[in-house]
Amino acid sequence: MKSKLNLDPKIIDSARSSAARIAQDMQKFIDRHTTVSTERTVLRLLGIDGVDDFDFPLPNVVVDAIKDGGGLPRGAAYWIGNAMIQTGLSPQEIAERVAAGELDIMKLPTVSAKEAEEKIMPEVKKSLELIKAQTEKRNNYLETIGEGKQPYLYVIVATGNVYEDIIQAQAAARQGADVIAVIRTTAQSLLDYVPYGATTEGFGGTYATQENFRLMRRALDEVGEEVGRYIRLCNYSSGMCMPEIAAMGAVERLDMMLNDALYGILFRDINMQRTLVDQYFSRVIIGYADIIFNSGEDNYLTTADAYEEAHTVVASQFINEQFAVLANIKEERMGLGHAFEMDPNLENGFLYELAQAIMAREIFPKAPLKYMPPTKYMTGNIFKGHIQDALFNVVSIWSEQSIQLLGMMTEAIHTPHMQDRIYALENASYIFNNMRDLGEEVEFKKDGIIQKRAQTVLKDAEELLKEIEKDGLFHTLENGKFGGVKRPRDGGKGLEGVCVKDEQYFNPFIPLMLGGEK
C-alpha cells in the first residue's frame, strides 16, 4: 500500500536497522547478567508460590538464600534442581522448608549443571504446558464468542480493592469495553517482591497479585461469555518484579501487559542495568504466552513537549520493536505506545497529532499500537476534557489504531469513577461508529502540513537512532534523551539485585520458550 504521508521507505529501513543494532548491542550485556527477580521468576514458573510467616513471598525467601549463599551467578534453577536431587522434594516443598528454616539449599552437596537441569525439566515442561493451555483457552474464546472491533476500547480500573475493581470492570464490559487494565497501587513498582493474595487496600490502583489476577480473569470470562465478546485483561509487567509478573500473567491468562524497561528507568528511577535484564526474560515469557506487550513511550510526552519531542517516541518504538524481536515476540503482539499529548491550544495541533498517528500506523503496519489519551493538558474542566478525548478518538479511528486507552474526562482529578468510564466508553463508541471508514476516504495534500510533519518526525527519529547507535543505549539514557529525564547508569533502585552469570548458569525456560512452537 502506498504511503498516505509519502514517507520514504529508505528512512524507515535505516531507522529500523539502527534500532536493531542498538538492541543487539544491549542484548550482549543482558546475556551476561541475571537478576534476583529473573531468578524468582524461574522459581515461580517452577511452581513455587505462597508466603512465609512474615508475608514474604517464598520465591524471595529462596532467592535471598541463594544470593546470601553466593549462588546467584549460577541461577536458581540449578539450585532447585540440585536440591530436588538431594532431597527428593518438589520445588514448592523445598521452598517451604527453606522458609521454615529447615533446609539450607546452599549447604547441600552439588551435582553438575547438566544433572540439575535434567532433573527440573519435567517441572519446566509442566509449567509451559500450563501456559500453552491458557493460550488455547484464549484462542478458543476468540473463536467461539469472538471479540470487539479495533480499536479495542481499553479502560482502567483502579479502586485499590480487587472486589470493587471487579464491579467496575463488569460494568465497563457491559458498556462496551474490550480491555480492562487493572492499575497497580502507587508504590508497587518499587517493591522488590510481589504481594500475595486478594487485596483490598491500594492507592490509585490495586496490587498486582496472582490471586487478584485470577479473580479478575474469572470475572471477565464470566461477563465476556454473557456479552458475547472476549474481554482482555491487562496489567503491568514492570517495576522491580517485571519478569515475575509476566510469569504470573502467563499463568493466569492475562492478554496484555505494560512492559517497558525505559519507563521504569525514567519514571520510577529503577536502575537501568537491572530492568533491562529483567525486561528480556519478561518479554520472552510474554512472547511465549502470546500476550500483547505495551511499551510506554507515551510517558515521554508528559515530561517533555509533545510537539518538540515527538521523534523520541518514534525512536523508542523502533528500539522496543527490536527488543521484542530478540525475545521472539510476533509483530502482531507488539503494542508499541504513543500518545495524543500536544497542548490543546496549539493551532493545527490536531493535524500534527493525526500526522503522527498515521505515521506510526504506516511504520508498524501489523503492530497493535497502543494509543494513549491526553493527560498532561487535561484540567479539572471535565467538559473540555471530554472533547479533548473526543478529538483523540477521532484521530484514532481515522488512523486505524489498535488499542485505544480511553481518555477520562476526570483525568486531572481522580482515578476513574464508575460514571467517568461509562462516558468515556460512550465517547469512543459513538465516534468510532460515526466515523468508521473515514481513514479509507481521505487523502492528504502533497507536501502539506500533515505530510511534512510526519516526514520531519521520522527523519528526526532516524537521526536520533543513529546517535544512540553510536553512543549506546546506557549513555543515551544518562544524557536525558528520552522524556528529558537523566538517569545515571549505576543510580536508581535495584542495582544490588543484578549479577554476572557464571559459566554454568542456566535458565531452562528461555531456550524452550524461544524455540517452542508458537
Binding site: 463488569q170 464470566e222 479539572g380 481522580h414 464508575m418
Partner: protein
C-alpha cells in the same frame, strides 16, 4: 458475581457511588454571581457543604468575564435515600401490541374508538404527538392512525384549549391526547390545568379519558394536574392505546 453488584448495598441507606460503595461521590457544576478568585471558590465550597457534601473540592473555576464565576465541584454526599420505601405511581396496564389492541376493540368495545390529539397553547412541537398518532409512528412503532377500530384525529400544533374541547365535543371523543413540550417558566402546567378546567366547565371531564405527554411529563405529574395518565419520553402508540382501551372498558365508557 451475578448480573448485579448490589449484594452488599444497604437499600435503606443508599448513597452515591464513585469507586467505592458509599463513598458518596457527586459531581456538580454551577455559576455564582461573584467575581472569580479564591473567595469565589470558597463560596462554592460553602454552598456544597450546605448541600451536604463532605470534602467538597473545586476542581475547576472559570471567570465568566462579568463578575460571575463558574465552578466544577466534586464532593461526598452524606445524605442517604431509603430506596425500599419508594413507590412510584405507574400506569397499571398490560401493554398490548397493535394487533392485540385491535382484537380488544373488536371483542370488548365493538365500535370505533375516537381519539383527538393536539399540541396545545402556543407549542409548535408536533413531533411527539405525531409519533403517537400519525400513521408512520416512531422508532418502528406504528401510530394510532394505523389501528383498525381507532379513529384518530391529529389537530396539530398551536391548538387552543377551546378549539380542542370544541373538537372533542363535535366528534364525541373517547379520549383526548395533549402534548406539551415547551416547559419554560412552567407554561405547560398552566396550559394543562386550563384544559382540565375547561372540560369540567363543559361538563365532559368524566366522559373522556384525558391523557397528556411530553419529555417532562410523568404519570405522577399528570395525575396531580387532574389527568388520567401521563406519558414521558420513549412512549409509543401501543402504550397509549392499551391504556385508553383498557380504561374505557374499566370505566364502562364503551
Amino acid at each position: 458475581m451475578g448480573k448485579t453488584a448490589t449484594a452488599k448495598v444497604d437499600l435503606t441507606k443508599v448513597k452515591p457511588y464513585g469507586d467505592t460503595l458509599n463513598d458518596g461521590m457527586v459531581q456538580l457544576s454551577f455559576t455564582l454571581p461573584v467575581p472569580y478568585g479564591d473567595e469565589a471558590s470558597e463560596a462554592a465550597v460553602i454552598l456544597a457543604k450546605k448541600m451536604g457534601l463532605d470534602e467538597p473540592s473545586v476542581v475547576y473555576s472559570k471567570d465568566l468575564g462579568i463578575g460571575y464565576t463558574n465552578f466544577i465541584v466534586y464532593g461526598k454526599c452524606q445524605h442517604t435515600v431509603d430506596y425500599t420505601s419508594i413507590k412510584v405511581p405507574k400506569i397499571e396496564v398490560d401493554v398490548m401490541d397493535r394487533l392485540e389492541c385491535e382484537k380488544f376493540i373488536e371483542e370488548n368495545i365493538k365500535r370505533d374508538v375516537v381519539i383527538v390529539g393536539a399540541c396545545t397553547g402556543t407549542d409548535a412541537h408536533t413531533v411527539g404527538i405525531d409519533a403517537i398518532i400519525n400513521m408512520k409512528g416512531f422508532d418502528g412503532h406504528f401510530g394510532l392512525e394505523r389501528y383498525k377500530g381507532i379513529e384518530a384525529i391529529n389537530m396539530g400544533s398551536q391548538v387552543s384549549n377551546e378549539t380542542l374541547v370544541a373538537k372533542a365535543i363535535e366528534v364525541n371523543a373517547d379520549a383526548i391526547l395533549v402534548s406539551q413540550i415547551v416547559t419554560q417558566k412552567d407554561i405547560h402546567i398552566k396550559n394543562l390545568t386550563e384544559l382540565v378546567e375547561l372540560l369540567e366547565a363543559e361538563g365532559i371531564r368524566d366522559k373522556v379519558i384525558l391523557v397528556c405527554g411530553g419529555p417532562r411529563i410523568s404519570h405522577e405529574l399528570a395525575q396531580e394536574l387532574g389527568y388520567d395518565a401521563g406519558f414521558g419520553p420513549r412512549s409509543y402508540a401501543e402504550n397509549v392505546a392499551s391504556y385508553v382501551l383498557t380504561e374505557l372498558v374499566k370505566r364502562k365508557l364503551v
